[in-house]
Subunit: 217 residues, 3 copies
C-alpha cells in the first residue's frame, strides 16, 4: 500500500528526530546523534526480524529508509548546532509538532509489525503477532534510551506502549477476519494516533507507586 509506505517514511523521520534530540541532550557527538537517530527509527524492525528468524533484517535491503533517518538526524543536528543558545526553545517547538508525527510513526510501525505475522503465516499465534506489532512500534525507542543511558521513556510516561498494544490487538482481530489489509490498517492506525494525541494533550498517565513526596511531580 502506497499510503502505508508514505506513513512509514513520516514515522521514520519522526522517530529519527526524537532520537537525535535525545542524543544531543546526552551530549553525544555527530556520529552518536546520527547513530541514535537511525537506531530509533529502525531498531524496532530489527528486533522483530530477529525474533522471527528473518535474517538479515529487512532494513538492510531497504537502505533508502536508513538514508531518510540519516537525513532527518543530520538536519536536527545542524538546527541544534546553529541555534544552540536557544536549544530548549527549538526543542520545545519541534517536539510539539513532532508529537503528532511520532504518533503517526507509532501507528504505521505497529500496523506493519503486526502485518508481518500474517505475511509470514505465523498469525495463528495471536500473542506473537501482537508482540511483533508492539515491538516494531516501541523497540526503537527502547534502543534510543538504553544507548543514551536513560530509563526507557515508554516505562515512565504517558500511554505510549499501551496505544501500540491496543492498536496491534485491534489490527490483529480485524485482519484475521478481513482479507483486505487496508481496513484494519486504517482502523488501528486512527486508534493509535487518537489515543496518543489524547494522552499527550490531557497528560494521561498510568498509575505509579509514588515512593516519596519528591516524587509527586
Amino acid at each position: 500500500m502506497v499510503v502505508l509506505k508514505i506513513l512509514e517514511i513520516v514515522g521514520t523521520i519522526a522517530f529519527a528526530v526524537s532520537g537525535a534530540f535525545v542524543a544531543i541532550k546526552a551530549r553525544l557527538d555527530l556520529f552518536g546523534v546520527l547513530f541514535i537517530g537511525c537506531i530509533t527509527a529502525v531498531g524496532g524492525g530489527i528486533v522483530r526480524d530477529l525474533l522471527i528468524g528473518a535474517t538479515p533484517p529487512a532494513i538492510f535491503s531497504r537502505a533508502y529508509i536508513l538514508f531518510v533517518a540519516l537525513g532527518a538526524s543530520a538536519l536536527v543536528f545542524l538546527l541544534a548546532y546553529i541555534h544552540r543558545k536557544d536549544f530548549d526553545k527549538i526543542q520545545k517547538k519541534v517536539e510539539y509538532v513532532n508529537t503528532f508525527f511520532d504518533a503517526v510513526g507509532l501507528a504505521a510501525f505497529t500496523v506493519m509489525g503486526t502485518e508481518v505475522a500474517f505475511v509470514n503465516g505465523i498469525h495463528e499465534n495471536a500473542f506473537l503477532s501482537i508482540a511483533l506489532g508492539m515491538l516494531t512500534g516501541v523497540g526503537g525507542g527502547i534502543f534510543r534510551d538504553v544507548l543514551t543511558d536513560t530509563t526507557p521513556y515508554i516505562f515512565k510516561k504517558h500511554v505510549y506502549a499501551l496505544a501500540s498494544i491496543g492498536g496491534a490487538v485491534v489490527y490483529y482481530f480485524i485482519r484475521y477476519n478481513v482479507e483486505k489489509a487496508w481496513i484494519p490498517s486504517l482502523i488501528a492506525g486512527v486508534l493509535i494516533v487518537t489515543i496518543r494525541m489524547l494522552a499527550a494533550h490531557f497528560r494521561w498517565s498510568l498509575p505509579k507507586v509514588h515512593l516519596d513526596e519528591d516524587d509527586k511531580q
Copy 2:
C-alpha cells in the same frame, strides 16, 4: 517432568517479583512494572533461543508462563501501591522470602537451559551448553537491570552467576553420561539452591578492587 514444570512456575513468579520491585524503585509506571516483571522472567530464555536460532522463541508458544509473570508483577504493584508508605518494610519482607524462591528459579532455569542443548543435539559443544544454561538463568536479570538503568546486579554482588555456572557444569557432565534427565536436574538444582542460600546467608562476595575508602561498604 512435572516437578520441573512446577519449579519453572515458582521461578517465573520469583523472577517477576524481583523485576517488579526493581521497576517500582526505578519509578516506572504500571506498564513499566509489568513489562520489567515479565522480561525478568522470560528474557533469559529469549536470549538462549536467539543464540541457537530457535525462532520465534519458545515463550511465544507458552503464553501461560507470561500470564503467570504478569499476574505476579501486578500483585507486587498492587501491594506496593496500597502500602506505599511502608514500601521499604514490605520490600524487605518480600525479598527475604523471595531469595529462596529466586534461588529455586535460578536452579530451574539453569537446568532447563542446559537441557535445551541436549534436546537440540548440540551438546557436543560443552562450552555452548553451559553458556545456554547460565544465560537462561541470569539473562532476565541482566535485561531487568539494563532497562531500569542500573548496573547489572549479577556483576556486583554475591555468588549469583557463579552458582548458575557451577550448576550448569555439573548438570552437563552428569547428563552427558546418564540417560535420565531427572538425576542431573536434582543434583544440579540442589547445588544451585544451596550455593545461593549459603551465599545470601553468609554474605559471600567475590573479590573486588576497592578503588577508594568510600568504596569499602
Copy 3:
C-alpha cells in the same frame, strides 16, 4: 590467513583489557570484570552472527578466543588488585599502550566482519557488508558500556566508529574487485590503525552541540 589470526588475538586481548578496566572503575566484582572483559572482546562478533542468522554464533566453536579474553581480563584484575592504591597511574600507563593494540583490534575485527559477508555470499548488499564490519568492530564496546551503565564511548569521543566504517568501506570496494583477501585486509587495516592513532594523538573529535558553558571541556 595466519597474520589475521594473530591480529585477532592481539585485538581480543586489547578489547578485553579495555573492558576489564571499565568494569573495575564501575566497581564490579571479579565475575563482572571477567564477564565484561569477554563480552567486550566477543560481543561484536555475536551481534554480527545473529544479524545474518549464523547460529549458534561462531565464538561458541572457538573457545580459545574466549580463554584469551578471560586470561587478559584476569590479569588486569590481578594487576589492579595489587596496585589498587596507584590504580589511576596504572590505568593511564596501560591505556596509553593499549590504544595502539585496541586500534589493531578494531582493524582486525572490522576486516574480519566485512569478510564474513563475502564468505556467506551476501556481499551483493554493500550496505549490509559494511554494517557487519562496523558492528563486529564496535559492537563489543557498546555491550561493555551499556552493561556498566555508561553512555557508549563510541558515541562521545574521538573518531572511533568512523575509522571502522571507513576501513569497512575501503575493504569492501577493494575486495569486491580483488580475489585475494590479504590485499584489502592490509590496506583497510593500515588505514584504520592510522586514523585511530592520529585521532588519539591529535585529539580529533567530531562536531558536537555544546549546550552550555560547563560542557566546553
